[in-house]
């Protein structure tokens, strides 16, 4: 007795909590019997989490590194003064240096210098070493010990390690840079005290920089360190009031804000795309769990009969889904970290978006983000299991014990009201404005439309297939068609679970394809409009120090074969310190017909409507969104240290700049600013002139070696290549979402087909051949997929309207026309139809191979 009691006690201790033991048995039993389904659900969640986490890590690493690099240039300054229009007169510097409250004022000339033979510019900082030592000590050059005064030399330049590597120069060697059309040769005198990894930076004496690059008397900014106790806010406010049009006074947080604004929409759009993959994974979990619960309906009913309480059963089903989600999420985090590392190593931090050039970011484990994505992954799996769990718990055990009651489980899905409410709310949200400059309501509308569309499928399936069945009743149909339509019409719940996977995949394919095609064609059309000349000449492919003087412009305009030369000058204006600068483009524009030169959208102001004391400007769509500019509005803009009145005469489309651009007539610009240099020329050739011959003639000019030539076709091709590259990640995320969706279609078709083994067995008993059963499955799969694709097309088209007319404009501040990629959609539709049918057939061939005798037994 004692030993038996001891044995019992020992074994009881090993068993542990009996209810937990039961839970473990049920869980492991199910997963042991259906490992592939559990694995598919885990992989779907893992992929979604991996993509989301990877994108977040990459964006975070690149943005943080970019911000840190930018901050390193500001050092320990309390305030910064920058010119509204790029450079400003350095006469203001002595006033500030002696101003009460200022401890140190450090002047800086910051130039993006053109590097011959390179596609990127080199950031060169001209500094006063003695002043900079107090504010930006990391930027001080480190000269050779034998030449300690090289930091003051007029021919010396100091390069960061990344710059030396990029330009393939070492201390002691010469470096050639461009000033206008002339070459400036400087001696590489050493490195910097400290520079961030990958930061391409050069530093030289400020006087030498002003002289060498033709910027005598000009500065980019003045860094101020205030004396202790000075109220920074008050000081800033007072100082700004003294220079309202010439200088912008900013703090480091403004710089952070500027960095954030530059890339926020792009980063968030990528995150949203990654979350789409997670959403698709969630739907796969739902469909897997739902079918699993339906299949085990009688088993759950038995457990309820034996004494398992409702909430215990609810917890058990939720536990299944939750564990799948946890395992998937953990796997996803590991995979995401790996993906991020690989992407940063091979693609760089901007993933083709072009926002973080010049940074070399490395992936850092981000615990808060990891916890968020873990929560998302496991939470979404739980959410996907919730409806099936509630149904299992609520089912009446007596009714659920009977086979054939599966459709009852899905009866709740047939109610259309939640779906219609989602669709209506989504439609309403499309009318909302952006939130924090982001299309938050647009994203929500897309999510609601997807959810509403998917949950409406049971009703749609019931209506469509019932109608088809009624239509076919009076006609002579084969037994296969009769069986198929009867099942689809009378068991729409189960059919709709398979439909949901098709719908979510295809609608996303349609939406993204329409959006990308619309964008691409709009960009191409836009380029055809703006590239109206025969040849484009540029004095520098990078940087801002390459420009052509009037004499050089004259030689270009009078070169053999050139009929007309239109020149262009590009500079920047800072209208808001918290936003990136606006680009100012001066060019030849006919005020009476600006649409000949500019891609104008909407109405234009006639020249006669512009006041005599105002000059016309044409602003990009981003200026309307970001700065509130309107047609006909009078605005005051700073130009060359003065302010002038301008009237908005038209709005044009600009796909090159998200932060805003203003165009004005070159003659007006030159008259107001006194700046007669230009950066680009658009040449229209004489009727019989050969572009190659003209290029050769221009190269023969004295400054011809510094010129770069492009023909419209080349520019268009390059632009579209960049476009495709910047969308590469979008395409990848979309493909993953589609793959997950197709996995879901395969899993649901397969699960449903196998669960119908008894039905097939009965059919085989009454004389239906295996070939007929396979035909039945193929027809079912085909009809379901066709309906799913039809509804998916409508839903996807609607979502594309939101993407094209709401998300894109609110994110990037440009509009586009809608274009439909019919051939591509047709191809994808055929592929999807084929793959769904093939999946149904494959699963069916397994099901009909099951022993017929076994399959008709009443037991499982």
């Amino acid at each position: 007795m004692t030993s038996a009691s001891t044995d019992t006690g020992t074994r009881a201790a090993k068993i542990g909590n009996p209810v937990r033991t039961l839970s473990r048995w049920l869980l492991l039993g199910e997963w042991r019997a259906h490992p592939v389904r559990a694995l598919v659900a885990i992989v779907a969640i893992a992929l979604g989490v991996a993509l989301g986490y990877a994108v977040d890590l990459i964006n975070g690493a690149a943005f943080n590194e970019f911000s840190a690099a930018t901050r390193s240039l500001s050092g320990q300054s309390d305030l910064q003064l920058r010119g509204v229009q790029g450079l400003f007169d350095d006469a203001v510097y002595p006033q500030l240096a002696k101003r009460k409250g200022v401890a140190v004022a450090s002047p800086v000339l910051e130039l993006n210098v053109t590097v011959p033979g390179q596609t990127s510019a080199l950031k060169v900082l001209g500094i006063d070493t003695f002043r900079a030592a107090h504010i930006t000590p990391d930027l001080i050059g480190v000269p050779d010990q034998e030449k300690p005064f090289d930091t003051l030399a007029d021919d010396a330049i100091f390069l960061s390690p990344a710059a030396q590597q990029w330009l393939q120069v070492q201390p002691g060697q010469m470096l050639a840079l461009r000033n206008g059309t002339a070459i400036v040769k400087l001696r590489v005198a050493g490195g910097l005290v400290r520079a961030r990894t990958g930061q391409r930076l050069a530093v030289m004496d400020i006087g030498a920089a002003q002289w060498r690059f033709g910027r005598i008397g000009q500065l980019s900014r003045i860094d101020l360190k205030l004396q202790p106790g000075v109220n920074r806010e008050q000081f800033r406010y007072t100082l700004q009031a003294e220079f309202p049009m010439r200088l912008q006074v900013s703090e480091s947080q403004d710089q952070e804000s500027r960095n954030d604004n530059m890339s926020r929409a792009y980063r968030i759009n990528l995150n949203v795309l990654a979350l789409v993959a997670l959403f698709t994974g969630a739907f796969l979990v739902f469909s897997t769990q739902a079918l699993s619960v339906i299949r085990r309906r009688s088993q759950f009913a038995l457990l309820r009969v034996l004494g398992l309480r409702r909430n215990q059963l609810l917890r058990q089903v939720l536990l299944e889904g939750g564990l799948l989600g946890c395992v998937g999420a953990l796997l996803g985090l590991a995979l995401g970290y790996l993906l991020a590392g690989l992407a940063l190593h091979f693609l760089g931090g901007d993933l083709g978006g072009g926002y973080f050039r010049g940074v070399q970011a490395s992936v850092q484990f981000d615990l808060p983000a990891a916890m968020i994505f873990f929560g998302l992954g496991s939470g979404i799996a739980l959410l996907g299991s919730l409806a099936p769990a509630l149904e299992a718990a609520r089912a009446q055990p007596a009714a659920a014990l009977k086979s054939g009651s599966e459709e009852t489980a899905l009866a709740r899905l047939a109610t259309p009201w939640p779906a219609l409410a989602c669709l209506l709310l989504g439609a309403l949200l499309t009318q909302m404005p952006p939130l924090f400059d982001l299309p938050v309501f647009g994203y929500m509308a897309v999510a609601l439309l997807l959810i509403g569309g998917i949950t409406l499928m049971p009703r749609v399936a019931s209506l469509v297939f019932s109608a088809l069945q009624r239509f076919s009743m009076g006609r002579r149909n084969g037994v296969i068609a009769t069986l198929v339509l009867a099942r689809l019409a009378n068991a729409p719940g189960q059919a709709s679970i398979a439909l949901g996977g098709v719908l979510s995949s295809f609608s996303l394919i349609v939406a993204m394809a329409i959006m990308v095609t619309s964008f691409r064609i709009s960009v191409d059309d836009w380029m055809q409009q703006i590239l109206s000349a025969d040849l484009y000449v540029r004095s520098a492919s990078n940087g801002e120090t390459g420009a052509m003087r009037p004499a050089e412009q004259h030689l270009l305009a009078t070169a053999p074969g050139v009929a007309r030369a239109d020149f262009l000058r590009t500079s920047t204006l800072t209208l808001d310190p918290a936003r990136p600068p606006v680009v100012l483009i001066a060019r030849a524009i006919d005020a009476a017909d600006p649409a000949r030169t500019l891609p104008i959208i909407g109405p234009q102001l006639p020249a006669s409507a512009i006041a005599t004391d105002s000059l016309p400007i044409w602003v990009s769509e981003a200026m309307v969104d970001l700065y509130g500019y309107r047609l006909g509005q009078q605005v005051t803009l700073p130009l060359a240290a003065h302010s002038y009145q301008f009237t908005v005469a038209g709005i044009w489309r600009d796909y090159a700049r998200q932060s805003g651009a203003i165009q004005l007539r070159l003659a007006d610009y030159q008259r107001l600013s006194g700046d007669t240099e230009v950066t680009d020329a658009a040449l229209s050739l004489q009727r019989d002139a050969d572009p190659g011959t003209v290029i050769a003639a221009l190269r023969a000019l004295p400054f011809g070696a510094t010129l770069e030539f492009s023909q419209p076709g080349e520019i268009r091709a390059l632009t579209l290549t960049i476009f495709d590259r910047s969308f590469a990640v979008t395409y990848l995320l979309e493909i993953v979402a589609i793959v997950i969706g197709l996995f879901g279609v395969a899993a649901t078709f397969s699960a449903q087909t196998l669960a119908r083994a008894r039905e097939f067995g009965m059919l085989r008993h009454v004389g239906v051949t295996r070939r007929q059963i396979l035909s039945m499955l193929a027809l079912e799969g085909g009809l379901l997929t066709a309906l799913g694709m039809l509804v998916g097309f409508l839903l996807g088209w609607t979502i594309s309207l939101i993407l094209v007319f709401i998300v894109n404009p609110q994110s990037f501040h440009w509009t586009m026309e809608l274009h439909m990629p019919w051939p591509g959609l047709a191809l994808v539709a055929l592929l999807l139809l084929f793959s769904a049918g093939a999946t149904a057939l494959l699963a069916g061939s397994r099901a009909v191979s099951v022993d017929v005798l076994h399959s008709v037994r009443e037991d499982w």
Binding site: T8, I15, L22, L306, R310, L401, D859
Partner: protein, 243 residues
């Protein structure tokens, strides 16, 4: 509800100590059940099952036999009347309480066996023990008692129909319930197997001191019970009284 269950525990203890229990295993008074479309299945049924008694109920299809079992099990609720199981009034219990009572007091045997396919035989039989918070060792004893000793690690797919019903019998009795409800337990079995299963069922019911109700179409199956009742629209009428 809690007071009633405690009373039941006290009674269990009394039985374990060999004290005779005069409380009937089951009492149905004035049971009435109709469905939404006006179809009356049970009009006014009275029925008492003594402790340790084994009763078979026969009747035409659709007369309400399975409905009666569902009402007794607490899986459905009557329109009027009362059901007392071991002195506890089922109609006063909510779903959770009814589930608890079912877990402790009732055992079930179905025509379709309803053995969980993904659990071993040992695990299937142990289900009621785990639900009651008891260690699962007794499952092996019951498997041996029904002639399936040493097969605890097999899965249901390895069994014949008769063997599966044996497993179901073992599961129904493992937690020493007061009342066994068997719904067509031999409906899916051939005559020879059915005979073996019925003999086993009767033996185990008596050995475990349980009461039992078997619903069946088979006169041969009904003959294994102590008493046979015929269910009709007029209620339950005795057919044969066996001592």
């Amino acid at each position: 509800m809690h007071a009633n269950l405690e009373t039941s525990h006290t009674v269990d203890a009394a039985i374990d100590n060999g004290i005779d229990n005069a409380i009937p295993a089951l009492q149905c008074h004035g049971l009435r059940k109709s469905y939404g479309h006006g179809r009356v299945v049970l009009a006014h049924l009275d029925f008492t099952l003594a402790a340790g008694e084994y009763v078979a109920i026969m009747g035409d299809s659709g007369v309400g036999k399975s409905t009666l079992l569902n009402l007794i099990a607490g899986l459905d609720s009557a329109n009027s009347g009362s059901i007392l199981i071991d002195g506890v009034n089922m109609s006063s219990l909510d779903d959770d309480a009814a589930t608890l009572l079912r877990r402790q007091k009732l055992g079930f045997i179905f025509q379709a066996f309803h053995v969980l396919p993904h659990l071993t035989l040992q695990q299937n039989v142990a289900l009621p023990l785990l639900l009651n918070g008891s260690p699962p060792e007794r499952a092996s004893e019951l498997l041996a008692a029904v002639g399936l000793a040493g097969r605890g690690n097999d899965f249901p797919r390895q069994l014949s129909g008769g063997e599966m019903q044996r497993v179901a019998i073992a599961r129904a009795l493992v937690h020493r319930p007061k009342l066994i409800l068997a719904d067509e337990p031999t409906g899916n079995l051939d005559p020879d197997t059915a005979h073996e299963v019925l003999a086993l069922l009767r033996h185990e019911i008596k050995a475990n001191g349980a009461s039992a109700i078997m619903v069946t179409h088979s006169a041969a199956a009904a003959a294994s019970a102590d008493r046979i009742l015929i269910m009709s629209a007029d209620g339950l009428q005795p057919l044969v009284q066996k001592s």
